[in-house]
């Protein structure tokens, strides 16, 4: 078994920044990533993407190449195509590669596993043709593929970014449906300091929206309800605005987005405690200000810690790396204090902006608590809103008991797509009060593992 000072999971902005920083502090570092190339989702394939696609994706995307280059040029050990299965009590880690299972131990771990999209459970969202806005962007980045005549619906920066990326590639969306409720703007004004601090970001966002509107793409605001329908696949989309109901037929793709939630499944499997963040409407790993979790040898960084974007991720990755370096005696106390102060100042500024954005793009209640009884909340096992309603009406209040009773969360995604919805519904019913909230308990493996790979562990043991 290999031994390292630090093992990092996830080579997105946080992981890459952490690896480079830790390497520079003289630590022996291993960084594992599931994909074939570094960059995470946001900088996916930045190393090899065709020039005209790069251009359409914009400068924020291209900048990612600085980070990937820094990683490739560093002395850290970088392993792509590595799917982490288990992190055992913050001491050893097991992952799968094509040639079998591998394991290693480390004194510290940084889990920079990024984010996934908050589920947007509407009637008909399981139909072929309904996907996430993130998926539309991944299709561009990982295959140069796009869907013409698509409807984009939801709220948040990614919605407008992808709409404008599509336009730059000559694809005009059928419509953009903005679900941000008007009261969000009013409430966001209270966080005006955050708005001022983030004025650059806000200006960018405003430009994107203007670009979309200027293209002649129909944009509908204050969308207060949304459904998708079709027989074997998506055919029509219905939505309500202040002028009433609208319907679009012959729609081939609907891309949904309403923000991100941390992809903290591995941290939860490793035993890190979580709590409910009612502002971001997601479970969140409990950490000290620097990302150290309830398990002292494990840190989280980047969006896996809290949703704050790529720039913040690069900062919090460095913060974690600096703490680890100090923990392990590779950074003298005065230097550690200086670095930490510098980094945390920037982190806090990013956090102020984020507080503003969280309120501006907070999903409306209807998009998080399904109105229709038949709406699917667990896609894997077809558990519907009515099953949760029945459970709650009978006095139930425990996500894990609900899972045992209905199989909600027992399917292949192991609760990643339903846990945020179930928790948001419980929170909505006032059943997730501060300290008594009981998060779901995912178990290893973090990704399905074939039995022959698992069996080989007992034969000649784990490879390095």
């Amino acid at each position: 078994m290999g031994h390292y000072d630090l093992i990092i999971v996830g080579a997105g902005p946080a992981g890459m920044a952490a690896a480079v920083k830790a390497g520079a502090c003289g630590l022996r570092v291993l960084i594992l990533d599931e994909q074939a190339r570094p960059g995470g989702q946001i900088y996916r394939n930045v190393e090899i993407l065709a020039p005209h696609l790069r251009q359409a994706l914009g400068e924020d995307y291209s900048r990612g190449e600085d980070a990937t280059r820094a990683l490739q040029n560093s002395l850290v050990e970088y392993r792509p195509n590595a799917t982490v299965l288990h992190l055992d009590q913050g001491r050893s880690i097991v992952w799968s590669q094509h040639d079998g299972l591998h394991s290693a131990s480390a004194k510290r771990f940084i889990l920079s596993t990024g984010a996934l999209e908050r589920p947007f459970p509407i009637d008909g969202w399981t139909l072929p043709g309904v996907m996430t806005v993130g998926a539309a962007q991944i299709a561009l980045k990982s295959g140069g593929a796009a869907a013409d005549n698509a409807v984009l619906a939801g709220s948040g920066p990614l919605l407008w970014l992808v709409a404008s990326q599509y336009l730059r590639l000559g694809l005009k969306p059928r419509a953009v449906l903005d679900t941000a409720p008007p009261e969000n703007y009013v409430q966001a004004l209270r966080q005006w300091r955050g708005a001022v601090a983030g004025r650059e970001l806000l200006l960018k966002g405003w430009h994107l929206q203007r670009e979309v509107r200027a293209s002649g793409t129909p944009v509908y605001r204050n969308v207060s309800d949304l459904w998708a329908s079709g027989k074997r696949r998506l055919e029509s989309v219905g939505f309500r605005t202040h002028t009433g109901w609208h319907r679009l037929d012959a729609v081939s793709h609907l891309f949904l987005h309403q923000g991100l939630v941390p992809n903290d499944q591995l941290a939860a499997i490793a035993g890190c405690e979580r709590h409910w963040n009612s502002r971001q409407l997601s479970w969140q790993v409990i950490t000290d200000p620097y990302g150290r979790t309830s398990i002292p040898s494990i840190f989280v960084a980047g969006d896996a810690m809290w949703i704050a974007g790529a720039d913040s991720a690069a900062l919090t990755g460095q913060v974690a790396a600096v703490c680890v370096a100090s923990d392990l005696g590779h950074l003298p106390a005065d230097l550690y204090a200086l670095e930490l102060e510098r980094l945390m100042k920037s982190v806090q500024e990013q956090a102020r902006i984020r507080a503003f954005l969280d309120i501006l793009f907070r999903p409306p209640r209807w998009a998080v608590v399904p109105r229709e009884e038949e709406t699917v909340i667990c896609r894997c096992e077809d558990v519907q809103m009515k099953h949760l309603d029945d459970y709650l009406s009978a006095g139930g209040d425990d996500i894990n008991e609900f899972k045992s009773a209905t199989r909600c969360g027992m399917g292949p995604c192991q609760g990643r797509l339903c846990a945020p919805t179930v928790a948001a519904i419980l929170a909505d019913r006032g059943q997730l009060p501060g300290g008594k909230a009981r998060p779901p308990r995912p178990r290893p493996p973090a990704s399905p593992v074939s039995l022959d790979q698992l069996a080989a562990l007992s034969g000649d043991g784990c490879r390095q």
Binding site: H86, D88, Q89, E401, P444, P448, S450, D452, L454, S458
Partner: protein, 383 residues
């Protein structure tokens, strides 16, 4: 007398399947019953075990009770008016070589000689491979019980609870017992949250925590909490009917109606009963995977989706503790099932309810007595 939050004829500590089954039988016989469950009913071993329903391979001392349970399982869904997921698909214990087959023949003979209306039969290679075409050709025979099978642990536990509730039993959740006082034919139980309840009879169905509860009534039993690991795979096309174990390997192997395969075998992993904490030992699971692929080659490409373990309580002789307390009149026990208590629950509920109400019991429970030498603990291990 202290103020109390409730009073009943019987107080049951522990809302697993034994507590729920007992509650059902007691309330059905007219007693008033309250169950105190520290988490939610079915939260622990009862809700997450492998669901095996078998008499095959049981310790002879358990067989009379287990045979009563076998009859109960057949009619349980009707009795509880609820699906418990029971299918009598049969259970097999596979022999991979002549030595193992000989051991199975010994077992068959042992069982025949017990004077019970029950047999475990030997089947040869031809019949075995006809019954289980997916089995590796190197397997030469098996021990077989046709009317064994499997059921759904959480559903069965819930079915008992709901049936008991319909008849008036009361279930408290989040109700952790911290002290028991006895006197004047009454028990007074206090919870961690300060509530207290009273009853004429007290029953310890606290599973892996049963040793602690036993100590509260003065019975000193060595109980070792431990975890029994399981893994479930992604769904596969149907290929297996009976539940499969192996004479020479730690393996329990079954395929559900929805196509997923459940693999166990009793591989242990440490638990923390103060925090409801379980752990996973990958080497143990690797051995389970190796056993599964050795017997069923197609499992090589099967994908394990989830590993877990329940929290079980093991006695030193691996037999349960069932019956009256040796120290405190009016107190009873049903715990220490050592990772094989699921199938017994319907019978334990029935027979123990008889004992508590002073009726004749359907079978003799002396093999499970609290004060037997083999389970005594002066220092309770791990609990």
């Amino acid at each position: 007398m202290q103020a109390m939050n409730g009073s009943s004829d019987v107080l049951i500590i522990g809302g697993g399947i034994h507590g729920c089954a007992l509650a059902f039988h007691l309330v059905r016989s007219g007693a008033s019953v309250r169950v105190l469950e520290k988490d939610y009913p079915g939260r622990h071993a009862s809700g997450v075990n492998a669901g095996g329903v078998r008499t095959l391979g049981r310790h002879p001392a358990e067989l009379p009770l287990s045979l009563i349970a076998k009859r109960c399982w057949k009619g349980l869904a009707d009795l509880l008016d609820s699906d418990v997921g029971f299918s009598a698909v049969g259970q097999l214990r596979i022999a991979e070589n002549e030595d193992e087959l000989e051991k199975l023949r010994h077992r068959r003979d042992l069982v025949s000689g017990l004077g019970l209306d029950y047999r475990e039969e030997i089947i040869g290679a031809d019949d075995l491979h006809r019954m289980v075409p997916a089995l590796s050709p190197h397997c030469i025979g098996a021990l077989y019980v046709a009317d064994d099978g499997h059921a759904s642990p959480f559903r069965a536990t819930t079915a008992y609870r709901l049936a008991a509730e319909r008849l008036g039993a009361c279930f408290e959740r989040g109700a952790e017992v911290v002290s028991v006082t006895a006197g004047h034919d009454r028990f007074h139980v206090t919870l961690r949250d300060g509530r207290s309840f009273g009853a004429d009879r007290l029953v310890n169905c606290a599973g892996a925590w049963g040793g602690r509860i036993a100590a509260l009534v003065g019975d000193d039993i060595a109980l070792e909490p431990n975890g029994s690991m399981l893994m479930v795979t992604m769904r596969m096309p149907a290929f297996l009917g009976p539940v499969v174990g192996a004479a020479g390997r730690s393996l329990s192997f079954k395929q559900f109606a929805n196509g997923s395969v459940l693999i166990g075998g009793g591989h242990r992993a440490p638990v923390d009963i103060d925090r409801n904490g379980t752990s996973i030992d990958l080497m143990g699971l690797a051995r389970a995977a190796q056993n599964a692929t050795a017997l069923f080659p197609r499992m090589k490409n099967a994908k394990a989706l989830r590993f877990w373990s329940g929290i079980e309580g093991f006695t030193s002789d691996h037999l349960p503790v069932i019956g009256p307390s040796a120290s405190q009149a009016g107190a009873f026990h049903a715990f220490g099932f050592s990772a094989h208590g699921f199938q017994l629950a319907p019978a334990v509920g029935l027979v123990l309810s008889q004992a508590i109400l002073g009726a004749t019991t359907a079978c003799d429970l002396s093999a499970f007595r609290v004060d037997r030498e083999s389970i005594r603990g002066s220092v309770t291990k791990g609990a």
